[in-house]
């Protein structure tokens, strides 16, 4: 979820007096994996460019000295072509005691370009020649000693995923050398790199492996599209089955067996203190606790995040992490490119959009890899409007699903159409043009079970730490808003919008406004309002499309700035009202 873990993660912050060591390299060469190995701090890594968009910092303990190790965002060049490269270039210009330049051994020539730029800036460098285990399959042979001599700095072969060579990097940091290369032009740099490659690297021709065939197939004009659609359908099917399975067979029975008896006892004790009973247990329905509707802190407040939402978080990230680590994700960029171009975006926007299906916050942060501010604005706005996060989706499936699958389908279809229509309008009305896709597609890699489970655990833990307090705060505010009657006045004031325009009961205004806090809680509040299935669909769509939740709001503010945020928010509100009203008219209900 990473809701508030955006810009900078500091673990055991070391004081400024300690030296800085930078971890620099092209995107997707395994910097984050090396970072994790060196510091023990978990950095999210995947098999596609741009997983680290901010920068991470950790401690590197060398015995006599402790350094601050900074995981610099991936860059192909220090003449920035996007925001991540700007950040990288700035950090490197600030200088450091030493830079560990991570090179992908399977693409040495291109990787050396950045290494040269770092050397030219006079930083002492140790080179980590990563993924050396992959070179053999590719028929590449590198003379490491010669490379070391020609570059004039230590070169350490590493395999970050297994930890091979990591200790040697640490041992050789004291040997770091400044390069002997003056600042030079691009052409001269390439010539020099060409010379090095010629004398250190031999490539033997080999037959196409199964992996090569698979790599070609998944971007084939016909089979690429087919596998893309199949992969997405299969992913969502697994997410849904796994999520439902976890709920019905594990979490719901456990909650009922272990926690409900405690709640009942508590309810008996608190029955004479109505205020506390209301706050902690919530309202009783026919004398019993209703886990979805009671809205007490310890009843619904725990049931919603732990039983209704958590299973979908786990199942979503289980599948997403697999797509990330195999390297499939960026191939979707190729498949969706021409579609996204109609919205002023390019294909890589599919990656932030899919991340947004887990939580909008990392999704919006991931839009930083897009080249222009126009693209970032369109993508961030569209994600906030039309990409429901896993929490909201879990509640939609749990609540709207009670009336049948067709209603869920209407909600999703409306969001999908809105994504396209709003994107199209923004593309046609905003000044500027849409940049073209230029991306490196990573080789497929067999995901490591350990890395996958660690990543799943960190994402799940992130959700538990960040979401549960917000859910509880939401429930507290709901109780205060209802018991003081504030919500009644707000609803009354908004009656023209909710009642006349959207055809919803006046009380529906409450949950939709409280969606500002967390949308899954808001969705939970819709249950207790007496509505027809059609009205529930309109309320759900309005809730999903209008204001972002507080965490998304903060990150939008940081990414877009106040002025564009205001624009984005107006687009969200107008879109939600238009879509809600149209849906009401189409579904033809009256109040």
């Amino acid at each position: 979820m990473n809701c508030f873990r955006s810009e900078k993660v500091k673990s055991n912050p070391a004081s400024d007096t300690e030296g800085k060591v930078l971890l620099v390299g092209n995107p997707n060469v395994g910097k984050s994996a090396i970072f994790t190995r060196l510091t023990g701090v978990h950095a999210l890594s995947s098999n596609y460019p741009g997983t680290t968009i901010g920068f991470l910092e950790g401690r590197l303990d060398l015995g006599e000295r402790v350094y601050r190790l900074i995981d610099v965002p991936g860059a192909y060049t220090l003449d920035p072509t996007n925001e991540a490269e700007e950040v990288a270039s700035r950090i490197i210009d600030e200088g450091a005691e030493c830079a560990i330049v991570v090179l992908d051994a399977t693409a040495l020539e291109r990787n050396l370009y950045l290494a040269f730029q770092v050397l030219e800036r006079g930083l002492p460098v140790v080179v980590a020649l990563n993924m050396v285990d992959e070179t053999r399959h590719k028929g590449i042979e590198i003379d490491i000693e010669k490379l070391e001599k020609m570059l004039g700095v230590p070169v350490v072969p590493t395999v970050a995923v297994t930890g091979q060579g990591i200790k040697t990097i640490v041992d050789r940091i004291p040997e770091a050398e400044t390069g002997k290369f003056p600042i030079q032009t691009r052409e001269k740099r390439w010539t020099e790199i060409g010379n090095i490659i010629e004398s250190v690297q031999t490539v033997t021709h080999r037959h196409h492996s199964l992996r090569d065939k698979l790599e070609d197939l998944t971007v084939n004009p016909f089979w690429g599209g087919v596998t893309g659609i199949l992969a997405l359908i299969l992913s969502f099917y697994i997410i849904r089955q796994l999520g439902e399975g976890l709920i019905s067979y594990i979490l719901d029975p456990l909650f009922n067996a272990l926690w409900v008896p405690v709640l009942k006892t508590l309810s008996g004790i608190l029955v004479n203190v109505p205020i506390l009973h209301q706050l902690i247990i919530g309202s009783l329905f026919e004398g019993a606790i209703d886990l979805e509707q009671s809205f007490g802190l310890l009843s619904t407040g725990l049931y919603v995040p732990i039983v209704m939402v958590l299973p979908y978080i786990v199942s979503f990230y289980a599948v997403l992490s697999l797509l990330e680590d195999t390297g499939y994700l960026p191939r979707l960029a190729i498949i969706f490119d021409s579609y996204m171009h109609r919205l002023g975006l390019h294909g890589f926007t599919i990656v932030p959009a899919l991340l947004g299906l887990g939580c909008n916050v990392p999704g919006i942060l991931a839009t930083r890899v897009l080249e222009s501010s126009r693209e970032r604005f369109i993508a961030a706005t569209l994600i906030s409007i039309a990409v429901p996060c896993a929490g909201l989706q879990a509640m939609i499936i749990g609540i709207v699903g009670d009336f049948g699958w067709s209603y869920i389908a209407i909600v999703y279809a409306t969001l999908f159409i809105s994504w396209f229509v709003i994107g199209r309008i923004l593309h046609l009305s905003l000044k500027g043009y849409s940049p073209e896709l230029i991306i490196e597609i990573p080789s497929y890699r067999m995901p490591s079970l350990k890395a996958w489970s660690l990543k799943l655990w960190f994402r799940t833990r992130g959700f538990l730490i960040e979401a549960i307090p917000l859910v509880l705060a939401g429930i507290l505010i709901v109780n205060i808003a209802y018991s003081t009657g504030i919500i009644h006045y707000v609803a009354l004031a908004l009656k023209p919008i909710f009642h006349t325009l959207l055809g919803l009961p006046t009380e529906a205004a409450g949950p939709i406004i409280l969606g500002l806090l967390r949308k899954d809680v808001a969705m939970g509040m819709l249950v207790s309002i007496d509505m027809t299935p059609a009205q529930l669909v309109v309320a759900t769509v309005t809730l999903a499309m209008t204001f972002p939740c507080i965490a998304t709001f903060i990150v939008l503010w940081k990414e877009l700035g106040a002025k564009k945020l205001a624009g984005s928010l107006s687009i969200m509100i107008i879109s939600a009202l238009v879509a809600g009203t149209l849906l009401r008219l189409i579904m033809g209900f009256q109040i």
Binding site: Y76, T77, D79, T81, T106, A107, E109, R110, Y113, K138, I140, R186, W190, V203, E215, D216, V219, N220, P221, G224, P330, A333, I334, I335, D337, S338, Y339, H341, H346, G347, E371, P435, E436, L437, I438, I439, E440, I441, S443
Partner: protein, 80 residues
Amino acid sequence: MAMPITLHMLKNGDEGIIEAIPSGECARRLYALGLREGKKIRKVSGMPFHGPVTIILEGRQIAIGNRIARRIMVTPLSKV
């Protein structure tokens, strides 16, 4: 020697030598990925509906937007 054609025109599966890269912002991004004049590439595919072109450069796939692929010139290598 064959005449240079656009990357967009190169047949899927064919190899070619990059002759010219369009100038401008996108050139910097192409250079950053190691694509430059004189490099040998193989075209993997071009997606329908003006979709991107995927090439292999130094054993690595790179996807390039359609409008740029129409401005990159390559000399096709005749097959042996």
